[in-house]
């Protein structure tokens, strides 16, 4: 069952990611990104990340993507019309990236430990475990994060003023 679930949702994630890159209209890309995030949430569940799967759906697919879709509608963003002028960059970048993917996949396939597979239920990190680690071991980074968010709020407010 694990294999089937993994294959189905990995295929959805890769298909939606390709669609994200290949679509010309931003709103189609945004919907594809939501598909990627939803299928990744299922994969997080298979890996035992119950809390992060919920956070992925609520924060990423919910809040952040609503922000994206809102900005796309606000700017009335259309599709790309003219063909790209970045032909040389594309011609150099794509083979290099595919080489990177091939080499990394080969190294992972040969070097990763074969004896231990990902078993559903072997390790779960629910809200209790994550919250306990977050508020004991990682308390200082957690509190620093609140300052980061405060600065982000201030930055967004300053940038969105009329005068700039």
């Amino acid at each position: 069952m694990d294999v089937i679930l993994f294959l189905v949702f990995a295929a959805i994630a890769v298909g939606c990611a390709l669609n994200l890159v290949l679509q010309t209209h931003p709103i189609s890309s945004a919907l594809s990104l939501i598909g990627v995030m939803g299928s990744l949430a299922v994969l997080y569940l298979l890996l035992g990340g119950e809390f992060l799967a919920a956070v992925q759906l609520i924060v990423y697919a919910g809040a952040i993507m609503v922000l994206f879709v809102f900005v796309i509608m606000l700017l009335n963003a259309g599709g790309e019309k003219r063909p790209s002028k970045k032909v040389l960059r594309t011609a150099v970048a794509l083979p290099l990236l595919f080489t990177l993917a091939g080499v990394a996949a080969y190294i992972l396939a040969t070097q990763a430990p074969r004896t231990e597979a990902v078993r559903f239920g072997a390790f779960t990190a629910g809200p209790y475990e994550v919250g306990r680690a977050l508020f004991t071991t990682w308390l200082l980074p957690f509190e620093v994060t609140s300052i980061l968010i405060l600065i982000a709020i201030l930055g967004a407010v300053v940038l969105a003023r009329k005068e700039i």
Binding site: M1, D2, V3, A10, V14, A17, L18, L20, V21, P26, S29, L33, M37, L40, L43, Y44, L46, L47, G49, F51, L52, V55, Q56, V59, Y60, A63, L67, F68, V71, L74, L75, A77, E80, S84, T90, A93, L94, L97, A101, A104, L108, A112, P113, R114, V118, R119, A122, F123, A125, E129, V130, A133, P141, T145, A152, G155, A156, L159, A160, I164
Partner: protein, 110 residues
């Protein structure tokens, strides 16, 4: 149907998750390089962050250690802050330049 029961009982190797993470990251990087709409480029960055989160969680599961989940959590927090500031920057750029083409915003280029 011995094949089906075999498939149902089979386990997913760790490397499959990591390879999926690599594939998603490379797709995001390719989109970052070849797309010209600022918003789409920004979404490709989010895709790369998601791919890295997947590898964090796979390693966390493999090592039976919570630290990967905490790291993923912080990546999500930083991504949310980044999305808020980045989209505000995009709004400002659009207000000043009336364009979303990333090639036309090149004042800092030498």
């Amino acid at each position: 149907m011995p094949d089906l029961t075999h498939l149902l009982a089979a386990q997913v190797p760790l490397s499959w998750y990591l390879i999926l993470s690599v594939i998603l990251f490379v797709i995001g990087a390719a989109g970052f390089l070849i797309r010209r709409n600022i918003i789409t480029v920004f979404m490709c960055i989010e895709l790369m962050l998601n791919a890295v989160n997947l590898s964090f969680l796979s390693f966390s599961h493999q090592l039976k250690n919570l630290d990967g989940h905490i790291y993923s959590f912080f990546v999500m927090v930083v991504a949310a802050a980044e999305a808020a500031v980045g989209l505000a920057i995009i709004l400002t750029v659009f207000k000043n330049r009336a364009t979303l083409e990333i090639d036309e915003v090149s004042s800092l280029k030498l």
